[in-house]
């Protein structure tokens, strides 16, 4: 991609970080800077404080139940056990909810990306009468909080016979005007030379989108996709309303409604919490670099 024109911002930010010169050295070799030491101590302390709730949940989940309320509380148990994890897995419902969440979130992510990319392309690269108006109307939707329209959405889903189905959970979540705005601003920044060159070769809109725009948009697609996925996975109110059948429940709803019926057993609850948190934690650990670089390129930094 060696051209004279400036590439879109993301490629810029990314290449600067990966191949550019190493970050400026903080200290000269052999000299210990007290400021830097304090900085690192503060950073590590803050991170540890931030991790306490998660670590405490894990510590509790491997204690025998009798030890969870033993005062004074101890971080480490003398007899760690995985029995609570085994029990949660054997009960099966949590794995079922994880599977449901996976299906729903994948549906939402794929549909959201397709719809928003197409719309953003239309707004950014095509000219048609009424475009400004249509765009303003779509963006205005950012101001309508999805939580307040759950009442009529539920009535609509009842009429469409989609209550207690994956589609019923997923469909209302794919309307994200914010993502259209983000994609459009990104597409606007792609230099026209690129599409003009493709057009000279006889490419139509579909080929320009597939061969020019999308390859340049990978980082931002990854970032938006990850946020769409996290959002769908953790959505609570809508799935709470549209699902009553425990077999179709997503993780947050299942944990909140069914698990609380099992009484106050701290160690098993924490084991369930840890398992319920795992899938997205893994996704995050795999993609964490894309999240930051994607956001940096998305131009949602202001």
């Amino acid at each position: 991609m060696a051209t004279t024109s400036t590439p879109p911002r993301t490629t810029h930010a990314q290449s600067g970080r990966r191949h550019g010169p190493a970050p400026r050295p903080r200290t000269r070799l052999g000299r210990v800077n007290p400021g830097i030491t304090i900085l690192y101590v503060v950073a590590i302390a803050a991170a540890l404080v931030w991790l306490v709730p998660l670590l405490w949940a894990i510590a509790t989940s491997i204690k025998p139940e009798a030890e969870t309320t033993l005062m004074p509380l101890r971080w480490l148990t003398a007899s760690p056990t995985v029995e609570h994890y085994v029990a949660v897995i054997q009960r099966g419902e949590l794995l079922r909810w994880i599977l449901n969440s996976l299906v729903v979130s994948t549906l939402v992510t794929v549909l959201t990306l397709v719809l928003c990319v197409l719309a953003a392309y239309g707004f950014s690269k095509c000219e048609f009468p009424g475009r400004g108006w249509a765009f303003a109307l779509v963006i205005g939707g950012i101001l309508i909080p999805p939580q307040v329209v759950v009442v009529p959405q539920f009535v609509l889903m009842t009429q469409l016979n989609l209550v207690n189905t994956y589609w019923g959970v997923a469909l209302p979540q794919v309307v994200m005007p914010m993502f259209v705005l983000i994609f459009k601003r990104f597409f606007d920044a792609i230099p026209r030379d690129y599409e003009d060159a493709a057009r000279m070769d006889g490419a139509g809109h579909i080929r320009i989108l597939l061969n020019v725009v999308l390859p340049l948009s990978r980082p931002i697609m990854a970032a938006v996709g990850i946020f769409a996925f996290i959002g769908a996975w953790n959505n609570f109110l809508w799935p709470l309303i549209v699902i009553q059948d425990p077999d179709v429940m997503t993780v947050p709803v299942g944990l909140a409604t069914v698990s609380s019926d099992h009484g106050l057993q701290y160690a098993p609850s924490m084991a369930a919490a840890v398992i319920g948190a795992l899938p997205l934690l893994i996704v995050f650990l795999l993609f964490q670099r894309q999240i930051v670089t994607g956001v940096a390129g998305a131009g949602i930094k202001g």
Partner: protein, 312 residues
Amino acid sequence: MTTLSKLSNRSNKHRGRASAGDVRESGRWAGPWFILPFVAFYVLFLIWPSLAMLGYSFTDRSLAGGPVSWVGIENWVEALGDPYMWRSLWITLLFTLLSVPPLVALGAALAILTDHARRLGWFLRMAFFAPFVLPVAVMTMIWTWLYQPGFGLINQYLQMMGLQEVEWLGNEGTVLIAIVIATVWWTVGFNFVLYLAALQGIPRETYEAAGIDGAGAWRKIRHITIPQLKRTTGLVTVLQVIASLRIFDQAYLMGGDFGGPNFASRTFIHYIYETGFVNFRLGLGSAMAWVLTITMVLVSVLLFRFFTRDGR
């Protein structure tokens, strides 16, 4: 809105100049086809429900079914005269006032810290962002356990420091604060990432120049970093206010079905949910939902005004 349309105008103008006199051979009607799928979903799942909700608010529609009849402005009169609705609106606003400052300031502080402690980058990003990916029910289970009176970790540490034990979630005066603390822990990671991305955009040369002039780390942060982050702060604040006004999930799960002791953590969306889906009064719930929408549009417009005047 002002900011958003300004942003799009700017890019439109730019493009308009570049493409002046250019007639697309692929046809004027390609654009509508590209936006059509999104618009179809948008109308079906957002616009139509909003309008339908306005219609419902003038009827006695019930979730239990039964004949629906027109009741005029009865629901609106009942909603606006309901002290519990106002109380839940106040609780929502209070939550917003309490949660936005720490969420914005801490997001910036943690990002600056991470940006400077480069060698710990991976570890710090994980620590501060990981809570954001927890499902809300997981987060509330963990925090309810931490807040537990008697054998909760937080109360144990309070007692070790010689302080009184606090019944965090069982007390009218502390329940909302407890929810704010848990929320800050849970969602600050999002703002943190936005700030981190913005920090990457500050040219390194600026710092180097300041370094040659003898500026220390603290002065660099005060005189370069924070001013450069001004626009990000505007954006993060607006997004955060909108997000905080939508508080429901964690308050509902931590405060319980009744919204905490003496309804002290019953948020507006909780009250709408209760009216519509627990008491089956969809008409009344719709009127209340419109009250919230109008409140949010007003607050958003005010904020956009404030930040567009301030930022340029």
